[in-house]
């Protein structure tokens, strides 16, 4: 799993490529990344999941954890380009209402305004 970081105004955009799974170690990687952003005072975080093909239960758990941590620290986390597969998983686990999901980076960025 790879994470690319870029800034768009006061929003930090993380573009994730690869699987977010326990085996790929991706679950912790993403959490650590968001944690360090929060520590630096970044509160608007957008995760682009367009390049993520598979999220397992451990990865899903971490996404929820990241969301909760961001919220607890007064920040906002939004997800863009959620694949159908992940969307289905969010529907089954009824976590879809927990996340703010958007079809594109632009839509998600607009929602931060």
């Amino acid at each position: 799993m790879q994470i690319q970081e870029k800034a768009n105004g006061d929003v930090v955009v993380l573009t994730v490529n690869g699987d977010i799974t326990l085996n790929a170690g991706g679950d912790v990687l993403l959490k650590d990344k968001v944690q360090s952003l929060l520590q630096q005072g970044q509160t608007k975080i957008l995760i682009d999941l367009g390049g993520v093909s598979y999220v397992d239960s451990a990865g899903l758990g971490q996404l929820v954890q990241i969301h909760a941590t961001t919220k607890n620290q007064g920040g906002a986390l939004r997800l863009a380009n959620v694949t159908k597969r992940l969307k289905d998983l969010l529907v089954v686990t009824k976590l879809v209402t927990v996340f703010d999901t958007y079809n594109s980076e632009q839509e998600a960025l607009a929602a931060f305004k």
């Binding site: 451990a58 758990g61 929820v64 089954v92 686990t93 009824k94």
Partner: protein, 536 residues
């Protein structure tokens, strides 16, 4: 306690003298019980008195003092392996000994008397063949003591390479067959590393010589000047004719005296010996590793048995409902569970859950979720309330980012099924004439969200209707082409199942999954439960 004795090594060679008098005098004069001729030794230098079971070493006002293990003493209770030095006499070494020789050290004595390491090598080879070389520490001790006996070095170390290639002290022994205390020692770090890397022995005659001194400060400070270091190497299995050898560590000997360790003859016989020693060490190590692996596997098998015991019987029947369930972990233990419980005045409660992750961590959490469920289910009549309670109980013991999904339903004698689904793959209701329903109402997965709220829904079942609950290991089972079993195939597998016995419907479902996946390895636990309303 065996007879106490002193082992003396001086210019006359090595000998052992029993401490057979209540007070044993050591000195230069002829009348001493042990006479040592050396300018540093006073006429009556020291005495060893037997007090009960103890032996006390006392300095008798000597000119140059009495030392035990390098420390000056006036009176000192002796222990097995203590080295006594009189004055500055590096040329004479006294070692106090009380412990019995073991059978193995008997062999060692025979070998060292013959002064031939080749004989030792043969013995080691024999031990290995007999499988006596199973305990690594014993093999290391035997190897090191033999090497010390023959070379007359003062200290010996075996360093074995760790996975990262760093050398690690495995054992340290001194003359007199004593284990030197501690886990790290002042030795040259350069010499063993070189020997390990090159696979070539090194003899360093005198660390004080030439330019070497600067590099070996620490070693020289404790008086060590002579080092002999040979590689411990084995030929890798299957390497055939190649000359490549796998260095597993080094045998390192040092001392303040030249003794015999520096001779070319000693070096070559020690190298031959080291080859046998390395084989014995390697096989002992492999044995230890496989024993450890076997222990872990045994623990896992026991865990799997316990896990099976935590699950209820796979079939159950009451006057208006029958159920059958099955759980197949993809590893030895799994993260799925099922349970059922008679809820007073309400009906038969049945649940199936799945914990995120796999293997032992998931199994432990599954046990926690299942026991929470079993504790909460009888407390409330409302499945949604049960979910809320289980969620809170799990959050109190929050394990970061670990969660569970669970379906819980209660079927009454009137056919009313109330249920709540916490993020579980929706169960399928199989109705007469091929009608189907999915049981989706509920709330998010358990154990992640403190504010999560759960709803319940109710459906009416007719006699013969089936409820099929399964973990995502069923719907996400893959075939060799990477396709998933999916909900459509689940419905198809249950098309003709209406009214059939739950065991038969369960077999049909698992059979369909097996046939679909064509023996492709499954990445998830496969758990399913079928409940039929009405006993026709």
């Amino acid at each position: 306690m065996t007879e106490a004795r002193l082992q003396i090594t001086d210019q006359q060679g090595r000998r052992v003298v029993p401490l057979d008098k209540p007070v044993f005098i050591i000195g230069r004069r002829t009348a001493a019980d042990l006479q040592l001729v050396n300018a540093d030794v006073s006429r009556e230098h020291a005495e060893i008195e037997r007090v009960g079971r103890q032996y006390l070493l006392r300095d008798r006002g000597s000119r140059y003092g009495t030392f035990v293990n390098g420390e000056q003493v006036t009176e000192h209770p002796l222990e097995h392996g203590d080295r006594i030095r009189l004055g500055r006499t590096d040329g004479i070494e006294l070692v106090f000994m009380t412990e019995a020789s073991t059978h193995a050290s008997g062999l060692r004595e025979a070998a060292s008397d013959a002064g031939d390491l080749r004989q030792m090598a043969a013995i080691l080879n024999g031990l290995r063949a007999l499988g006596t070389g199973r305990v690594l520490d014993e093999v290391l001790t035997l190897v090191l003591d033999s090497a010390l006996d023959v070379t007359k070095a003062e200290r010996g170390f075996i360093m074995l390479a760790k996975a990262d290639g760093e050398l690690e002290f495995k054992i340290a022994r001194g003359l007199g067959r004593v284990t030197l205390p501690g886990t790290s020692f002042t030795t040259s770090s350069k010499i063993p590393r070189e020997v390990y890397q090159t696979g070539q022995s090194r003899i360093v005659g005198d660390l004080m010589d030439g330019n070497l001194a600067g590099m070996h400060d620490g070693t020289i400070a404790i008086g060590i000047r002579h080092v002999l270091c040979v590689p411990l190497s084995v030929t890798p299995i299957g390497s055939g004719e190649t000359t490549s050898r796998n260095v597993i560590g080094v045998l390192y000997l040092d001392g303040r005296e030249r003794s015999t360790m520096l001779s070319q003859a000693t070096r070559s016989s020690l190298e031959a010996f080291a080859t046998q020693a390395a084989l014995a060490i390697d096989s002992a190590r492999l044995y230890a590793e496989s024993a450890e692996k076997a222990r872990i596997e045994r623990d896992l098998r026991i865990a799997a048995e316990i896990q099976r015991a935590l699950l209820p019987e796979p079939t159950y029947e009451n006057p208006y409902a029958t159920l059958a369930a099955s759980s197949i972990p993809c590893r030895t233990v799994g993260g799925d569970f099922f349970d059922y419980i008679e809820v007073p005045d309400r009906g038969l409660g049945f649940a199936l859950g799945d914990v995120a992750g796999k293997g032992p961590p998931a199994a432990l959490l599954a046990a926690a979720v299942q026991s929470n469920f079993a504790a909460q289910a009888p407390v409330t009549a409302d499945p949604a309330d049960t979910m809320t309670r289980v969620n809170r109980a799990l959050l109190r013991r929050a394990i970061e980012a670990r969660f569970a999904t669970m379906f819980y339903g209660v079927i009454g004698s009137d056919g009313r099924l109330s249920y709540s689904n916490a993020g579980q793959e929706p169960p399928l209701v199989v109705r007469r004439n091929g009608g189907t329903d999915w049981l989706e109402t509920g709330g998010p997965v358990l154990g992640l969200l403190s504010m999560a709220s759960y709803e319940f829904d109710a459906v009416s079942l007719e006699p013969g209707d089936l409820v099929v609950v399964c973990s995502d290991g069923v719907t996400e089972a893959r075939n060799l082409a990477g396709e998933e079993f999916g909900r459509d195939r689940l419905v198809a597998a249950m098309t003709d199942a209406h009214g059939s016995r739950p065991e038969a419907a369960l077999d049909a479902l698992l059979g369909a999954v097996r046939k679909f996946s064509e023996g492709a390895a499954q990445g998830d636990d496969i758990t399913a439960m079928v409940l039929r309303y009405g006993n026709t």
